[in-house]
Amino acid sequence: MAIDYQPKIVGFMCNWCSYAGADMAGTSRMTYPPNIRVIRVPCSARVDALFIVKCFQQGADGVLVSGCHPGDCHYSEGNYHARRRFALLRELLDFLGIEKERFWVEWVSASEGKRFSRLVSAFTDELSRMGPRNTWGNQVDTTDQGQG
């Protein structure tokens, strides 16, 4: 595989814990690879399973969903529901040829800037090691959803 292969990562971060954790990583200047693009959502439970598939379909090599630690959900129960949803989706994706290692669901609290940066680094390393993901036949030409 090419040395300069850079995995593409989408991150869905809940506004109250994980997005804040990412901010914390920033304020404490904890560097991590620039491969991740963070999409801000109110709660990990907001993330429809299909978003994940869409990301892969759009060419992502890995997707990271992150929310508050179990029990700390700002909406009290969201991450519990997310956990079930994504446990199933992970299996389904793997079944479709997207290895489990490409779809991480991890909890990061608002104070865990360090954890966030280490997590993203670890994920990026893992994906670099794995190389480009299996595609389902031809890559789609991605039209711009922006034309609303």
Binding site: A49, L50, V53, K54, Q57, H69, P70, G71, E77, Y80, H81, R83, R84, R85, F86, A87, L88, L89, R90, E91, L92, D94, F95, L96, G97, I98, E99, W104, V105, E106, W107, R115, R118, L119, A122, N134, T135, W136, G137, N138, Q139, V140, T143, Q145, G148
Partner: protein, 287 residues
């Protein structure tokens, strides 16, 4: 046995308890079965039930929600009905369920009737409907459950790359006729997400990836709801092994949440509930 159905249907129609009885009649090939809607008592005689009655009639019930209706169901169909009752799609009191104790149905196609039981019946562990108002035939002794997910296990034997290319090939063929959806008792949205343009989840481009998007959507929307009637696969004009996706999820739902769809109408669906202390292999990364 058939007489039992006829008598019951007659009784229900005459008494005015129901306005329609949904059942099976002999198809015009004289060999297979097709759905029958009985409104008039004289049509009762057309009713049949045998190993050719493969269709899941529950789907039709969705079109006659308001009027009291009787329906002939096999155990698997009854499970679908349970799911729909749980999802408030029917009022129990408006549905009169004629349950069939069912030893299994055989492979059929136009003018053809196989000798072997359909694959789903070979692994079936429920031969008496979990719900009914009137049971036709004697309750059938349940056989000890065989390992029902060998097909899934076999497929998981393949490498990820093989799995991906397998589905790529399959979905290459998909023409998005949506027969799989239209036949599925679990699919009843007023406007299916796949056809929504705003947002456009799936483009109409017939690429394997877009098709896959659709099939994942279908499978996942049925997660914890699919009762494994395999109608989707039966009706697929290009023979995509669709139920494999459903069965994978069925297996996981059973393994992770110890849940089977349609066993009763009260147990909350696995994605509608949770356990605080379950781990599910999620959130286990440590530095």
């Amino acid at each position: 046995m058939i007489q039992q159905i006829k008598d019951k249907a007659k009784e229900l129609l005459d008494s005015g308890a129901v306005s329609c009885v949904i059942g099976y009649e002999r198809a015009s090939d004289g060999l297979t079965a097709r759905p029958l809607f009985v409104y008039e008592t004289e049509d009762v005689e057309k009713l049949i039930f045998d190993e050719t009655c493969t269709h899941n009639l529950v789907k039709y019930l969705l079109n006659i929600k308001d009027k009291p209706t009787a329906i002939v169901v096999k155990p698997c169909d009854a499970r679908a009905l349970n799911v729909l009752l749980g999802e408030k799609q029917h009022q129990r009191e408006k549905v009169n369920i004629i349950g069939e104790a069912c030893p299994g149905v055989v492979e059929t196609s136009w003018n053809k009737k196989g000798d072997d039981l359909e694959a789903r019946c070979q692994v079936c562990t429920q031969h008496t409907p979990p719900i009914y108002d009137f049971l036709v035939g004697e309750p059938i002794e349940e056989p000890s459950p065989p390992s029902t997910f060998s097909d899934v296990a076999d497929f998981e034997g393949k490498s990820a790359a093989e799995r991906a290319s397998f589905w790529a090939e399959q979905f290459e063929r998909c023409i998005r006729c949506y027969a799989c959806r239209n036949v599925c008792p679990g699919c009843y949205c007023t406007e299916c997400q796949v056809e929504q343009v705003n947002p456009e989840w799936v483009s109409i481009r017939l690429t394997p990836e877009e098709n896959l998007m659709w099939h994942v959507m279908r499978a996942f929307h049925l997660a914890g709801r699919c009762i494994g009637c395999k109608e989707c696969e039966r009706v697929c004009p290009v023979n995509i092994p669709l139920s494999l996706l459903n069965r994978k999820l069925q297996q996981e739902v059973l393994a992770l949440f110890d849940f089977q769809a349609g066993i009763d109408e009260d147990t909350p669906a696995p994605l509608a509930t949770f356990k605080k202390d379950e781990k599910l292999g999620i959130g286990e990364w440590h530095e």
